[in-house]
């Protein structure tokens, strides 16, 4: 029997057809990426929990539901010390329950996922705009994380002659098909601001956009920009890009989650937002599922230590709290109280995709006996709780000042390399899939290094190399690639910083 649902792993929410008899057997092949093909396997993951678990000493022990509910009731009484941490993979129905509880308790709802759309103050585009745009400007790495979109983008390139530009520190799959600007990691914001400055100097921006609030202030900040050379790009390289964008009938900017790995990613997105306002075009955000969180006005986690944190489907390692209550389908060591909830195949609900539209998640199999949905658990903890809908919000277009223009980490004699990074997965479940994927394809944990540096250090392709950053040390396999410039090394899923090769 074939059953239909959606893949919950990124903002595209691709259609997924699963083969099911008594249990789920596999995915019916359709245009998908590797995450989508393996998505169903997390239903039968070994680390799933079927009963509430509580930390007792060093180990976790299963407890009765009544005890778990009692503990939660006790913790809720302590008002003012509560925090609700939600993730993009929570369905809208779950968010409505959590929002209503956090509203009644006056506790903030935060997220540890980067909410890309929160940093954009201009028009947001949809995926269908990719088909009509004549110039597409990609910020970050798009094709590696969303190969399903690649079909659409390559079709518009080869069939309609769309020009593709890419701004990324590493020459990944997106840059194979586009004209690439390769700044130093962290220099993206400066490059985008220089492009805005060029547009204003040439007078090729859309004049009617001057009425939008904040334009005079933004214009005056552009006068005191550091030279673009500091971001590792020559000023001449920018002019063809700016010309193409100014002449285009319908330019489009695409943002991917790979921008979030630098410290100043919010400034980068603000700069992009200002540039898009100057050209009066939309920005398409293809990221995780954080658009649903935006509806509820969820803010980003500030990194401070909290007393009690209710964590829903998110990673407890990224939250600092005295007592962590985790609602999750899987066992996670770092939580103090684990509450089992259904995974995506055992749940029906709605998720928000990159367009801001909703897609339906279908229940394919029944959850295990003792596993209950978030709504029914929360309504038992607080009686007479009803799910509530979010307050409506108006879109706001505005030019914003960009404070931190450049944040390229300074290399020193001890740490001569700039480490550049991009995320390899967007949500918590993907870590489990990656282990499975490593078994099928022999992908190893590796890092990329320029041939010049490799020759100087005497490193050969495939060698095990020790990497050291200011905080930690680890071993990785070296790949000698021209995708990174000399002096930069690329390591997936890390943070931009300085590093040394030992």
């Amino acid at each position: 029997m074939e059953v239909k649902t959606i893949c919950p792993h990124c903002g595209l929410l691709c259609d997924l057809t699963l083969l099911k008899e008594r249990e789920i057997l596999g995915t019916v092949p359709s245009p998908l990426c590797v995450k989508g093909l393996l998505a169903w396997t997390i239903t039968y993951d070994q680390s799933r929990i079927y009963q509430p678990m509580m930390r007792k000493g060093r180990k976790h022990a299963t407890i009765h539901w009544k005890e778990a509910v009692e503990t939660m009731r006790r913790k809720i009484k302590n008002k003012g010390a509560l925090t609700f941490v939600v993730s993009g993979s929570c369905t809208e129905e779950e968010l409505a329950w959590i929002y209503s509880l956090s509203n009644s308790l006056g506790a903030p709802m935060v997220t540890t996922d980067p909410v890309l759309s929160a940093s954009i103050f201009c028009k947001q585009a949809t995926i269908s705009d990719l088909e009509t745009a004549d110039v597409i400007f990609i910020l970050g790495e798009l094709l590696e994380f969303h190969p399903v979109l690649a079909g659409q983008i390559l079709r518009s390139k080869y069939e309609r002659g769309t020009r593709l530009f890419c701004l990324s520190s590493r020459l990944g799959p997106s840059s194979w098909f586009s004209e690439t600007l390769q700044p130093l990691p962290g220099g993206e914001s400066l490059v985008l601001l220089h492009m805005a400055q060029m547009l204003i100097q040439q007078g090729t921006y859309k004049k009617e956009q001057e009425k939008i609030p904040g334009f005079p202030e933004f214009r005056s900040t552009l006068k005191a920009l550091p030279p673009v050379d500091r971001a590792g790009i020559k000023p001449l390289a920018l002019s063809p890009v700016v010309d193409a964008l100014a002449k285009a009938k319908k330019p489009l900017f695409v943002v991917t989650p790979s921008v979030t790995k630098t410290d100043n990613w919010k400034e980068t997105l603000l700069s992009l937002s200002n540039l898009a306002l100057l050209l009066d075009c939309g920005v398409l955000i293809v990221g995780g599922l954080e658009k649903g969180l935006r509806k509820y006005g969820v803010e980003e986690y500030d990194g401070k230590r909290k007393k009690v944190a209710f964590i829903f489907r998110s990673d407890p390692r990224s939250v600092d709290a005295d007592f962590k209550i985790l609602f999750t389908p899987y066992f996670v060591e770092e939580a103090d109280l684990l509450i089992p909830i259904p995974c995506f195949t055992e749940l029906s609900g709605t998720l928000t995709d990159a367009d801001g539209g909703t897609k339906k998640l279908n229940k394919i199999s029944d959850p295990p006996q003792d596993v209950r949905e978030v709504g029914s658990i929360l309504s038992e903890v607080v009686e007479e709780l009803r799910p509530s809908s979010p307050p409506p919000k108006k879109p706001l277009f505005e030019f914003k000042e960009v404070k931190e223009k450049i944040n390229v980490p300074r290399v020193s004699a001890g740490f001569p390399f700039l480490l550049y990074s991009q995320p390899t997965y967007f949500n918590f479940d993907w870590v489990k899939l990656k282990k499975l994927l490593d078994r099928f394809l022999d992908l190893k944990d590796s890092f990329e290094l320029n041939p010049e540096d490799a020759e100087r250090l005497g490193i050969k392709e495939g060698a095990e190399v020790m990497l050291r950053t200011e905080k930690e040390e680890f071993k990785r396999m070296a790949l000698v690639r021209r995708s990174v410039p000399p002096g930069v090394i690329y390591l997936p899923d890390f943070k931009t910083c300085v590093a040394a090769v030992v």
Binding site: P29, V34, E144, P147, A150, L154, P173, L441
Partner: protein, 159 residues
Amino acid sequence: MELYFDIDLCVGCHACELACALQNHGEKRINIEVFGGLFPLSGVCRQCENSPCVQVCPKEAIKRTGDAVKINENLCIGCRSCSIACPFGNIDFLESRRVSVKCDECLGRLKEGERPPCARVCPTGALRFCEYEEMEKVASTAKRRREMVGPRIFAWRPK
């Protein structure tokens, strides 16, 4: 119907590789290679006419069946001659079972009228299971015209 590969559309996403592994009990017959970190190529067997692997096999274990070239694993002695002979490097040797495996377009393992899973999952349409005429039509009507540059490989050829 044959399996065609369009170099221009491959983004190296490993989806075909995984679909192949899932279909063939974890033994994949496609290897994605990225040449110089810039040029992805899905290493699927081209099913050459006059195949070198058929000619070198000392036990006549490799035979052309219809459109595909298939290894009879019962006859294979694991001498690896075919791996050496293959001009594309697309024949793998399995240490675990000591036989050679290659892509045979899932011959005999698919239902009537079904396409191989690698072609079905490819998100960009770089791997296509179709008649030559259909592939030619798709490649030649595009603004960037592709043509056949090798056995079952389509690419843009600079003039």
